[in-house]
């Protein structure tokens, strides 16, 4: 074996080892959805709570109770600013949890809501958030049926944090999961990506940039229900939140040990989002969405799936963005618009703007 091969094999062995959490403190990278988040979740939480329902690390757990298949999920919401074009913390808190149920193939039924409020927070703002939650819940067909409130001292919180949990019912006879993906499958996305992340970045006002953009926050269940009704060959559903479409496709590639090949020219990105990303040195594939479905379907069902998505207003701009291939296993590749190829890796932490 050549020296080079020996070195590469050593690296491969190191990669296959369980991730170890070396950090002594939590940094912002641990919350960004990339490699640092994965290491924290696998090495600390999964290690502590290990059980068969948690182990696949899907967005929700699906289990049977009294002959019915139920889905359970929870999500914590922190955002700055609390209000932004297209929505607010309240919309995210309902839609995010509804979507985590929907991508498990579950019709969302009931939510809980827990509020951590900072001393001094304006009641008028809290009312706006609650009203937005009520409206989003009505639109998604769910009820918020239980909750909790805590107040922390001034400067110990960021105004308002919301945690929601949700229960849903799996009615379709499907087994969804990244591990069911097969070579030849088609990768679809329900609309333009990156709207939410860039909207929030601009709404913070640090950049002196402005654009006609609004968050894409929306409840995806109607879109998912339409898709599952129309197409039997759906393998996997995800909603692209932090970490963006790139992170989801990496999860799929790793779970199914397949390669995912994305065609850059086919990925829908609004001109405003692309422009902001060019200026800031960001990649739209890693920018957060809050109402975009990524789905992998049997190639034979791809056209029907695309039509089912496009039939709903939320999926009007749905597109087929890529194909699953046998290899290289565990990798996401991008055929660039320029005609080259590159690897789309998981980021370690937040995408950081670059200057050099």
């Amino acid at each position: 074996m050549s020296g080079e091969q020996q070195v590469l094999e050593r690296i491969e062995r190191a990669r296959r080892r369980q991730p170890r959490l070396r950090d002594e403190h939590i940094t912002m990278a641990h919350g960004a959805g990339g490699k640092a988040t994965r290491t924290l979740v696998e090495a600390l939480f999964l290690d502590a709570f290990r059980n068969p329902l948690l182990a696949p690390l899907e967005d929700q757990a699906v289990f049977s109770v009294g002959g019915q298949r139920l889905a359970l999920t929870t999500d914590a919401f922190v955002v700055s600013p609390l209000f932004f074009p297209g929505g607010c913390l309240g919309d995210l808190a309902v839609n995010g949890t509804v979507n985590d149920l929907a991508v498990g193939g579950a019709r969302p039924l009931y939510l809980s809501a827990a509020f951590v409020l900072e001393e001094g927070f304006a009641v008028a703002d809290l009312r706006r958030i609650a009203d937005a939650m009520a409206a989003a819940a009505r639109a998604a067909g769910v009820s918020i049926v239980t909750g909790d409130t805590k107040v922390v001292q001034r400067d110990k919180g960021d105004g308002c944090y919301v945690t929601t949990a949700g229960v849903g019912l799996v009615e379709h006879d499907v087994t969804l999961g990244a591990a069911t993906v097969r070579p030849g499958d088609a990768v679809l996305v329900s609309g333009p990506i990156g709207d939410h992340g860039i909207t929030i970045l601009l709404a913070r006002g640090d950049l002196d940039l402005a654009a006609e953009l609004a968050s894409d926050t929306a409840a995806l269940w109607p879109l998912v229900a339409g898709l599952l009704d129309a197409v039997p060959g759906v393998r996997c559903l995800r909603d692209a939140t932090r970490g963006g479409v790139a992170t989801i496709l990496n999860e799929v590639a790793a779970a199914a040990q397949v390669g995912v090949v994305v065609d850059e020219a086919a990925v829908p990105v609004r001109t405003e989002v692309r422009g902001a990303c060019e200026l800031l040195g960001l990649d739209p594939l890693y920018v957060a969405c809050e109402g975009r479905l990524v789905t992998v379907v049997d190639a034979a069902a791809a056209d029907a799936a695309l039509a089912a998505l496009a039939a709903h207003p939320l999926g009007r701009d749905a597109a087929r963005i890529g194909t699953v291939e046998a290899g290289p296993a565990g990798l996401v590749l991008l055929r660039t618009r320029f005609g080259g190829t590159r690897i789309v890796d998981l980021l370690v932490g937040d995408p950081l703007p670059r200057i050099c």
Binding site: T27, V261, V348
Partner: protein
């Protein structure tokens, strides 16, 4: 998108790729260094290497200003950030560069007030709105970013802002290129010159490279077609036996540079006798410091800095990798002590550094990832 898509046209790329292939002499291997980190980024982002014949190797140079920052300077900056009342402002890509006890991200997690800004003027804005705090801007970059830092210091002086200063880590590109050229075991055939730096310094200062070292240099832009064009121009020089400085990036780079930008730098800053580069060691006259006249805005004079030099581990061979003498996997610590999670040298710090890229993707490098589309 206008003014961008024109420079990313696959049909034109295929035409230039054919030209490049035709310019390669049979059996000859070419090693070309792109000096600037921005070029490395473009090469990865667009998959430019898929258009190049196997005879051409692009060597990623020292032009990533955050990657070359030595640990001791990162430690000094974190020391400043830990002083009472200090807000340290820096560019985003500085956040993850490791010092001897972690990065800015780690320091922030331990309680330091470190904020990401997009321009030194944003740091000035923070100083205006936080008059009870001491705001320090971590100034980094080559001649590209130095004018903005200089103008910010001049603005702060005009406004009499007493709570603003800069921690100056600006570096200059020419001594680094010269350090690489001085190496007796150099294996490079030519350079893609740094386009952004050249908008400031122009093309004339590169004259010594063909004259004294016999290597051609083409100043290149940052769109993928720019890079391919510049490679073709280098190969044409080599094929025709010419050796000179050429400017591919004429739409942004005037031959004589930007006098006003250079004047702003010289007004506020002066050359240091020497500065340490991660991976390359001490290089004379390779960095800038704040002139005495502006001492009130110089964090190095305001704060007592530990200034402890943290040596690159002896086993680190980044210098050899940068010069194209060693392949990443031939370095003694590659993949064992030095990994992307615990980087030792500059080539592993940035995800685009030669070693980090090889660590992540090396097993795919010897064969094309997919059937190349330009075929």
């Amino acid at each position: 998108m206008r003014f961008v898509d024109e420079f990313r046209d696959p049909a034109r790329a295929r035409a230039v790729a054919r030209e490049i292939a035709a310019l390669c002499a049979p059996g000859r291997q070419y090693k070309l260094m792109e000096v600037c980190g921005g070029h490395t980024h473009t090469i990865y982002k667009h998959g430019i290497e898929d258009y190049l014949p196997a005879a051409i190797t692009l060597v990623h140079g020292p032009g990533c200003p955050v990657c070359v920052m030595p640990m001791g300077r990162v430690d000094d900056a974190i020391h400043i950030a830990a002083q009472p009342g200090v807000i340290l402002a820096c560019f985003g890509d500085m956040m993850r560069v490791p010092g001897s006890r972690g990065s800015f991200l780690d320091a922030k997690a331990r309680g330091a007030d470190i904020r990401m800004v997009y321009s030194p003027l944003d740091a000035l804005k923070i100083a205006r709105t936080h008059v009870d705090r001491r705001v320090v801007f971590m100034a980094i970059g080559f001649e590209t970013t130095a004018p903005a830092t200089a103008l910010t210091v001049l603005r702060a002086a005009e406004e009499g802002l007493g709570n603003f200063s800069i921690f100056c880590n600006h570096v200059t590109i020419l001594p680094a290129i010269k350090a690489i050229l001085d190496s007796p075991d150099l294996r490079l055939d030519g350079f893609l010159g740094p386009g952004h730096v050249s908008t400031v310094i122009g093309c004339l200062p590169y004259g010594f490279i063909p004259r004294d070292f016999g290597k051609p240099l083409v100043v290149a832009g940052f769109e993928p077609l720019d890079v391919l064009h510049a490679v073709a121009m280098l190969l044409r020089q080599l094929a025709e036996g010419r050796c000179e400085v050429e400017n591919q990036y004429g739409r942004a780079v005037p031959w004589e540079g930007n006098e006003r930008a250079v004047a702003a730098i010289t007004r506020v800053m002066e050359l240091r006798p020497h500065f340490e580069w991660r991976g390359l060691g001490f290089i004379a006259h390779s960095a800038l410091r704040v002139r005495g006249e502006f001492a009130a805005f110089d964090a190095e004079r305001i704060f007592e800095l530990p200034g402890v030099r943290v040596a690159d581990p002896k086993a680190c061979q980044c210098g050899e990798v940068l010069k194209g003498v060693l392949k990443p996997w031939e370095c003694k610590v590659f993949g064992t002590a030095c990994t992307p999670e615990t980087p030792i040298g500059t080539c592993m710090v940035s995800s685009e550094g030669a070693c980090a890229a090889y660590y992540n993707y090396g097993r795919f490098q010897r064969r094309r990832l997919l059937e190349p589309s330009p075929a």
